[in-house]
Each structure stands twice: as C-alpha cells, then as structure tokens.
C-alpha cells in the first residue's frame, strides 16, 4: 500500500477531477482496488472519508466540485488536501479545467530536512503564484520559505498544524519584491524546506491573466 497527497482547487471557472484506476494486479483474482480517500479542509478538518472499490480493468472519476463546494473560499479558491491510500499497482491523476485550458497535476512534492523543494517564480503584473504548503502528518511542522531574488532573500516561517494546508500568495507575502516588479519583471525562486523529519507536501499553482481570462498551471 502507498499513500500519496494531492491538492484539488475549485472556484470561479476552475474545477478539479480526481481519477482512480483499477488494480491491474487484481485482474486474475477479480479483486477490487480498495482506495481510502481522505479530504482535509485547509484548517485540517477531516470533512470527507470515502472507501472506494474499483473492479479490475475499470476506472472511477470523482468531480471535486461536489465534495469541496461547501468549504469557505481561501484566496478565492475552495481547495482541499486529498490523501489517498491505495495498492501499489494503482494509479491516480488529477485533471484541472478552466475556461481556457485543461491540464493535469501530479502529487504534491515531499520536502524534508534532507530534501528541499524549489520553484521558479517570475514577478510580473499578469502572474499570481500560490505556494501550497500541506502537512499530511499528525505532528506539527514548521515550513521555512525563502524567496531568492536578485540582491534580496527574504524568509518566512509557517507553523502548520496536523493536516492543515496553507495557500500562500507569493506576491502578498513577499510584497517588497512585488513592489519592485511594478517597474520590471523580476526572476526569482521560492525555496521550501522544513526543520522536522516529517515530510511536508508542497506545490506551486499559478494564474496567468490574459485579455480573454485566466490561464492556470501547476508545476509538475
């Protein structure tokens, strides 16, 4: 069995769908793939827990708008940490769809004391970047986020209670760089690490404003 952590947002014209495969190793025995899906609110409340069985050779898709529509918006998005426990031979995908593009997201990256994560970040008027910090463990984690820009490297620490998710607007949290970017685009990096051995789950979600509307991407 393995456990993977995904992040699913909804709101405005954005929707997410979770796709689950059957257990190909169970074909001969005819045994169903047993998934345990736990959905946590940004505050760390377990608000949905589902046991899902999928017959071999079949697949199942769950449209998340129906499950997380009751959550309060956070920075304009309803979003949830999705913790999935499943047999090793099962596969999962998250499909995100907006009015202008459809794309796929992998699991959140694991960060530990031994392995940091980083994301390129371009400060520009048309780009909004959101850093996703999730604590999928039962212990608190301190996340250390540093923005590395030319001649500046501000750092913020975030205390994450068990199972919470913090969506961080990079522009708002590092406004000194945002102010500088009013005159010119600034290339920078967001580096994340944590002090404890517990693995932090992180991701980067970005919104690109165009004349016609918003495009979104997840860094895979």
């Amino acid at each position: 069995m393995k456990t993977l952590n995904y992040w699913g947002p909804c709101g405005g014209d954005l929707s997410s769908t979770l796709h689950l495969s059957g257990n190909e190793d169970g074909i001969k025995q005819g045994s169903a793939a047993e998934y345990l899906l736990k959905l946590y609110s940004p505050k760390g409340e377990l608000f949905k827990e589902l046991s899902i069985g999928i017959d071999p050779g079949k697949a199942l898709s769950v449209e998340l708008d129906n499950l997380i529509g009751e959550l309060l918006p956070d920075l304009g998005f309803r979003h949830s940490l999705m913790s999935l426990t499943m047999p090793d031979s099962c596969a999962v995908g998250v499909r995100l769809k907006s009015a202008f593009n459809t794309f796929f997201a992998g699991p959140l990256r694991k960060v530990s004391t031994l392995e940091p994560a980083f994301f390129p970040k371009l400060f520009s008027r048309s780009i909004s970047s959101y850093l996703i910090l999730s604590n999928p463990t039962e212990n608190p984690i301190e996340a250390i986020v540093r923005l590395i820009a030319p001649n500046r490297a501000p750092e913020n620490n975030y205390e994450l209670k068990p199972y919470t998710t913090k969506l961080i607007s990079v522009e708002a949290e590092f406004d000194e760089i945002t102010d500088l970017s009013m005159k010119q685009r600034i290339s920078s990096y967001v580096r994340t690490r944590c002090k404890t051995e517990n693995a932090l789950a992180v991701g980067m979600f970005e919104q690109y404003a165009t004349e016609n509307g918003c495009n979104y991407i997840m860094v895979n």
Binding site: I27, C90, F104, P120, N220
Partner: protein, 248 residues
Amino acid sequence: MKAVRWLVFANPESAAETTVHFLPATPGAATPYPVEMAFTVYGRGVERSRLAIDGARLFHPDGVRIASLFPLESADPTNMVALEVDVYSSQTRSDVSASQCVIEFSNIERPLKFAPRKMIMQDEVQGNVTPPLTTPTPHLLMKDASVTPSIVIVNGTQSELRPGIYIKESKGGEVVKSIVPLGQVPPASVVERKLEGATFTNLYPQEMSWGLMKSLSVTTDYLPTDSISYYLIYRDTNTSKITSVQAI
C-alpha cells in the same frame, strides 16, 4: 561521490525557448560550496554537444536558457532535441543527490513547468554501482474530447530502443501484460509518439460533466541508471499546444 543527471527534452515548439532551473543540494546541511554543472544536447540533426558552466553553488537556485548555451535557434523544428543536465562535485566525498531541477517551456499565454526524470549517478570508486531495485510505478493516461495524450521518449543510449511501456489487461481470465506499440527509437534521439486510438478502443468510457472520458494505467520498465526517460504529455485537441508534461 554521488552525482545527479536529468534526462529531458527541449521545448518541441521551439527548442530555444527552454529554460533549465536548478537547485544543487546535498542531503542535510552543508556550506554553499561550488559545484560543477554540465549541459549536453543531441538529437536528429543536432550534433552531440557538451558545455560545462561555472558559478553554481549548493543551495543556491539558478536558471539558464538553453539558447544562451547552444545555437538551437537554427535547429529543425520538426526534430526534437534531447537535453542532459549534470550536477557533480570534484570533492570525492560529496553527495549532490538532493539536487532539484525544473524545466520551463516558454509560451506566450502561459509557460509549462515540470520536474524532469532524475538519475543518481554513483561513483565506481565508492564500490556501489548496483542500481537500487524499484517497483514499476503505474501512471494514468486520460483521453477525452479536449486533450490527447502522447509519450515522449528520450533515448540517451547508443543503441536502438524499444520503449518498455506496458498495459495489463484481462484476456480469458488471465492477466496479460502487453507492450504499448510505440515503435523503435533511434540511438541518441528523442521522439514523440501518439497513442494509437486502438490503445483506448476496449476501454469503458466514463460520462463526466464535460463529456466522455477514457483512462488507462501504464507502467514503465527501466533501471534507475538507464539513460532512458519517458514523459507523458497532453496536447490540446484543437490547437495541438502542449498543456501538461509529466515524467513517468
């Protein structure tokens, strides 16, 4: 010594519009000492070329546009370009296996950013050259009216490659592992292969709010030290633009 290599491909729409972002790192704390980096490009119509750069330091993220290293503007856009990125250190006990990389394909509307396949390169001096055993990881391919999946294969070896991507299905109550027909890949090259419609023919479509969708689970078959990498990419059905890239 542990070094790291990422094996990836340049932007298929314009190889020059590719940026490599990297974070050299060791497992655990270390002073930000200098590390070596090298970039190699090759492919059909592109002669293998390697360039080492100075200035990279541990825990200091940086990025480089491939066009600033290699004259790829003149590359034939119908041929895809393979890209190898190496991080290593001349210090014998160094271990840069925690290093990270993100590839960015520039695009007018929005870029694509993804982590490429990482290979840990063990030094023979250390006497530990046996690749760790890994369980094949399954990946989900999805196809609907708005996106079409295909596989990009980077063959960094000097021999022809038959891509080891498999599906498992039930035939007469037995589990049959069959290879996805992706043809042969020439040595030192990178190709994109569309998944034939037949691959999805026998699958049950699911009815979603946006229309019918089919999905398929595949597994890959290679050792962690093989100079081969596979990427699942999705293209917009209407514009053929790439919307997602995932290393598989």
